[in-house]
């Protein structure tokens, strides 16, 4: 029962949605509308499950003073305080239109700089990696190196100063050799996804059941 019911739901739901996509009829559309209404509702329960699981995991670490437990405390405080700020203090503490609410302040002045900083670090590591690893060790490595240089310089205005052909060559590399390779990879990935989805819908692939019924 624990295995059959979920498999049936996936089979019926999967096949129905596949067929629905190709039938431009009112009934088909209403089936689709009710599906799209249900999915966020189910997702809301998953959210409760996720927050509960996260709280239990990090609560355990804090209680037992596990290594790096202060990070767990930060997770718990953040996950609960941000909704509290949003719901209980929706307006500015200081008042006035230009003074942001606590939630806005935490978002704009804590979260945004943290994420931006993490992403910005890429520039430093890319520079270091380019110096260390970009070597013309072989013919293929040399082709890769030259391609990278042309595209990189073609992307910035200095490339146009070096010669108008520079950005054009960079764009040509992106438009033709790059597109050919990307299309091949995309088709491969697409067929892989299709095969996996069919295996799940028809019950061949059952890992998502988490071992229930084995």
């Amino acid at each position: 029962m624990k295995r059959t019911v979920p498999l049936m739901i996936v089979l019926v739901g999967g096949v129905l949605m596949m067929i629905q996509y190709f039938i431009p009829h009112r009934i088909s559309q209403s089936v689709f509308d009710s599906y799209t209404t249900w999915i966020p509702i189910i997702g809301a329960f998953a959210l409760i499950l996720g927050v509960g699981s996260l709280t239990r995991l990090h609560g355990h670490k804090v209680r037992h003073r596990a290594p790096n437990w202060p990070y767990s405390l930060a997770v718990i405080l953040s996950i609960y305080l941000m909704p509290v700020f949003a719901l209980l203090l929706p307006v500015s503490v200081g008042g006035g239109m230009n003074s942001p609410s606590v939630f806005d302040f935490a978002f704009m002045h804590i979260l945004v700089p943290i994420q931006s900083t993490m992403f910005s670090l890429l520039a430093f590591y890319i520079a270091s990696a380019a110096f260390r690893a970009f070597r013309a060790k072989s013919l293929l490595a040399t082709v890769l190196l030259l391609t990278a240089v042309v595209v990189m310089i073609g992307q910035v205005p200095i490339g146009e100063l070096l010669g108008s052909w520079f950005p054009k060559l960079g764009l040509w590399i992106i438009d033709f050799p790059n597109n050919a390779a990307k299309r091949a990879i995309g088709l491969g990935v697409g067929f892989g996804i299709l095969a996996t989805q069919l295996k799940i819908i028809f019950g061949v692939e059952r890992n998502w059941l988490g071992g229930v019924g084995d």
Binding site: A127, F131, P157, L161, D175, K182
Partner: protein, 333 residues
């Protein structure tokens, strides 16, 4: 064994590299180069497409990115929105995640900040309620009636934007890919209210554009593959024209959609945003380009420095004979 100069060069402490990158990223802000940015056809095609639209049309501007890619994606979204506002094209704003909704708020605040030059002055939904009651919802009539009542556009403003007539902030809903699918049937069914709690069905722009089939363009700004949702569920299902604004690292992933004709065009990275800003300036919409153009100086310097390091690394590698030895040096930090 004592290292020669090439060996020492290859073993350069990476903290020096970090320092150089830090310096070249900061200096251009104080000493701008102002090198010209020449728009490419991928960006011109988006600009020209929007040039054909007017108050009777509508577009979506979807903030599908989080703070990590804000420096690249935000200027694109800002440039497109300013273009649309300048042409009085109604804009629906959406976001594909909770953090993206914060980006939407931030971008909108930037465009409508009264302290900045060329901002758009917002008239909120409640402020022009009396005009709606009088049946004035046409864009040009509304602006004329608003100004006839003594409202004066501030000197540093580029124009009025009426909430519900010129824009609607729809924001984020969970499972955004399904939201796009749902909007192909009805926008109001997905978003009964906007982010400010205003009823969407009463908004003139929604009454004229009830679903994505009645929308003329969807622009998505993203640092992930989320932008392709608009193709899968918008372009392919109902033929919705789509334009991309993506980060530089992912730009090459999506040029296939330009070649296949599935997207109108694409802004790739900060460069794409700078190109759009230059087009806005060249066509007389604004006096000067915005933040992306300034940022291009940093990219210029950083790209040149990285190129310098690549050349230096290869010179040291070959001149030191390390290509023959086939061993890596030890003790590298």
């Amino acid at each position: 064994m004592k290292e020669n100069i090439w060996g020492r060069m290859l073993n350069l402490d990476r903290r020096w590299i970090f320092l150089f990158i830090g310096v070249v990223c900061i200096v251009p802000f104080f000493v701008p180069f102002g090198l010209p940015v020449i728009p490419t056809r991928h960006v011109i095609s988006i600009f020209d497409y929007i040039e054909e639209l007017g108050p009777e049309n509508a577009i979506f501007v979807s903030f599908d990115f989080d703070p990590g890619t804000d420096p690249e994606n935000m200027p694109m979204a800002v440039a497109i929105t300013r273009h649309a506002f300048a042409r009085h094209i109604p804009v629906f704003f959406t976001a594909n995640g909770p953090l993206a909704q914060g980006m939407l708020e931030s971008g909108f605040a930037y465009i409508t900040n009264p302290l900045s030059e060329g901002y758009f002055h917002v008239v909120s939904w409640s402020e022009w309620a009396s005009y709606r009651e009088m049946g004035i919802t046409d864009r040009s009539e509304l602006e004329a009636a608003w100004e006839a009542d003594g409202h004066v556009l501030p000197d540093n403003a580029a124009g009025w934007v009426f909430e519900g007539r010129d824009f609607a902030k729809l924001g984020y809903l969970p499972y955004f890919s399904l939201v796009i699918l749902g909007m192909t049937s009805s926008i109001a069914a997905q978003y009964p209210e906007d982010m400010n709690g205003n009823p969407l069905v009463e908004m003139p722009m929604l009454q004229e554009h009830k679903n994505l089939r009645e929308v003329d363009l969807a622009t998505t700004f993203s640092g992930t593959a989320a932008c392709t949702w608009w193709i899968t569920f918008g372009r392919e299902k109902i033929g919705l024209p789509v334009a991309f604004g993506v980060t530089a690292v992912s730009a090459t992933d999506y040029t296939i959609f330009i070649q296949s004709g599935q997207i109108v065009g694409q802004m790739g990275g900060l460069r794409g945003a700078a190109e759009y800003e230059v087009l806005l300036q060249q066509r007389g919409y604004f006096d000067k380009p915005d933040r992306a153009f300034v940022g291009m100086d940093v990219q210029n310097a950083a790209h040149l420095l990285i190129l310098f390091f690549i050349v230096l690394g290869n010179i040291a590698y070959f001149a030191g004979g390390f290509h023959k030895k086939g061993v890596l040096l030890k003790g590298r930090r």
